[in-house]
């Protein structure tokens, strides 16, 4: 295992028009740990998650995934680094008309030949990885069910399986449980914590409920007005 942290970010800033959404945010994430980001809505949590993937381009700052720089990477380099980041979104972002298995296979697109992608005819290794990933999130039985017929909790677990099938080192989860009922939310967070421990994933997860962060995170960051205001083992007393 490399001695680099799984994810490092230095001085990330982002402004939308005149509004400073992120100010000089730095953080570091080790393999196997779950870090929660807490903060009121509008505090910049989602912008931070988008900037860490460069789905939104930060105005400044440096991001490293393992030893590799994500900032400034273009083309093939960018795709290589992104492959190491799995993402889970509040709205799951599954391809509605595809099955759970096909959605998980979306994590294998990078190395699959174009004709296999176009015909959804994946290699047996890719299929095996996808089935494993679905089994790891407890959805082996639903593999051929269409994504838009799955429950919210199941959809989010498919999204996590997609990140697993991608063999990512880092899992970024932006409000992964905000659209789920409390029991399902706990199950999804427990699953992510479990995968962090068992597979050495580094998990960064934004949440808005302190109890949940307390229950599942090894470390808690809090954000306010686009800045990190607290970093520690525990949720700061409110």
């Amino acid at each position: 295992m490399s001695n680099h942290p799984a994810l490092r970010a230095y001085g990330i800033s982002k402004a939308y028009g005149g509004m400073q959404a992120l100010r000089d945010v730095s953080l570091s994430l080790r393999s196997g740990e779950v870090v929660a980001v807490l903060g009121p809505s509008g505090s910049g949590k989602s912008t931070l998650m988008r900037c860490l993937t460069r789905l939104t381009e930060p105005d400044s700052g440096e991001i490293f995934v393992g030893a590799r720089a994500l900032h400034g990477a273009r083309g093939q380099d960018l795709r290589n680094v992104r492959r190491d980041i799995g993402v889970v979104f509040q709205q799951f972002n599954l391809i509605r008309r595809r099955s759970a298995l096909e959605n998980v296979l979306a994590g294998r697109l990078k190395d699959a030949p174009l004709w296999r992608v176009a015909t959804s005819h994946f290699s047996s290794q890719d299929l095996e990885r996808a089935h494993e990933a679905l089994a790891a999130v407890g959805l082996a039985a639903q593999c051929h069910q269409r994504a838009d017929t799955l429950s919210g909790g199941q959809q989010q677990r498919v999204a996590i399986a997609r990140a697993l099938a991608q063999d990512s080192k880092v899992l970024l989860a932006d409000e992964p449980v905000a659209s789920l009922d409390p029991d399902t939310a706990h199950a999804v967070l427990a699953l992510m914590a479990n995968l962090a421990a068992s597979k050495g994933l580094a998990v960064l997860c934004t949440l808005h409920q302190p109890q949940m962060a307390q229950a599942y995170a090894n470390r808690v960051l809090t954000m306010k007005n686009g800045q990190l205001t607290h970093e520690g083992q525990r949720v700061p007393s409110m």
Partner: protein
């Protein structure tokens, strides 16, 4: 009314529905300006329409004079003359074939262009604008005009019609397709992008399945539309039933003309019904 207009304009500005708190009546100065603008726009609209009536040379007197002629033709059209039915049916089949092949060729041209023209799939804004201009040119020139040019280039017959339909439809298909692609949710695309896949793979795997029913529906609509519109292509010698229509008109064979119109009507009704049924199944 005033509150409605205000709400509508605010919504278009920030893209969200107003809540009860902000949905207040407009300030008086603003409403006066809005009303004046509305009146001026209405006035300009009326003036434009009157100008159109004058330019289009609308004359009820001429219609009145022409009516007896129309009536005598109508009388001579009955009963319809189906004696050449096999020929006419073949020509109708030619029209359907031209529209079908023309639209598929158009779709093949449209597929890459619509990816360049859609905001969310274009590789660069520098390609998006030229792609849109190209589509507007293709759409702006009717397949009738293209067919006229292709008849000169490849000779009389349905092939010229196919090319005319293909080139014009490519513009329409690509424009409608790119608009459908732009309505695709960004989420699945972003998730697939994070797998490290390139843009084409992301489109094919994560976007295409969700917009496919819309794309197919658009294609069916254009097929149906082209069956209807390509009945006239024969007039410029580009094949199909229009050719027979023109012959009958030139020879003042109104009973044969009536038979042709009935065949066109039957053909269009069948195609429209089939296309509508298929599109309902898709969406």
């Amino acid at each position: 009314m005033l509150a409605l207009r205000w709400a509508a304009s605010s919504r278009s500005r920030d893209g969200v529905t107003l809540n009860a708190h902000t949905n207040m009546p407009a300030a008086p100065t603003r409403s006066a300006v809005a009303r004046l603008t509305f009146c001026l726009a209405l006035l300009a609209g009326v003036a434009f329409y009157v100008a159109c009536l004058v330019i289009a040379d609308i004359s009820l007197a001429k219609l009145w004079e022409g009516l007896p002629r129309l009536a005598s033709w109508a009388a001579r059209a009955w009963p319809p003359d189906f004696s050449e039915f096999p020929v006419l049916a073949w020509r109708a089949a030619e029209t359907v074939a031209m529209a079908t092949v023309g639209v598929t060729f158009g779709a093949i041209i449209a597929a890459p262009v619509c990816l360049l023209a859609a905001r969310n799939t274009t590789p660069s804004p520098w390609l998006q604008q030229p792609a849109r201009w190209l589509l507007n040119v293709l759409r702006g020139i009717d397949s009738f005009v293209f067919a006229l040019i292709f008849v000169a280039a490849v000779g009389l017959g349905p092939f010229a019609g196919v090319l005319g339909i293909a080139v014009h439809s490519a513009g329409s298909i690509a424009k409608l397709w790119s608009e459908a692609i732009e309505t695709a949710e960004p989420g699945p695309r972003e998730a697939a992008t994070m797998s490290g896949a390139g843009q084409l793979k992301v489109f094919l795997y994560a976007m295409l399945p969700d917009v496919m029913p819309q794309l197919a529906s658009i294609l069916l609509y254009l097929w149906e539309f082209n069956v209807r519109s390509s009945t006239v292509l024969g007039i410029v010698g580009a094949g199909g039933i229009g050719q027979e229509l023109k012959n009958s008109m030139d020879l003042l064979q109104f009973d044969r003309l009536f038979a042709i119109l009935l065949i066109i009507l039957a053909m269009v009704t069948v195609i429209d019904t089939l296309s509508a049924w298929l599109r309902r199944r898709l969406l």
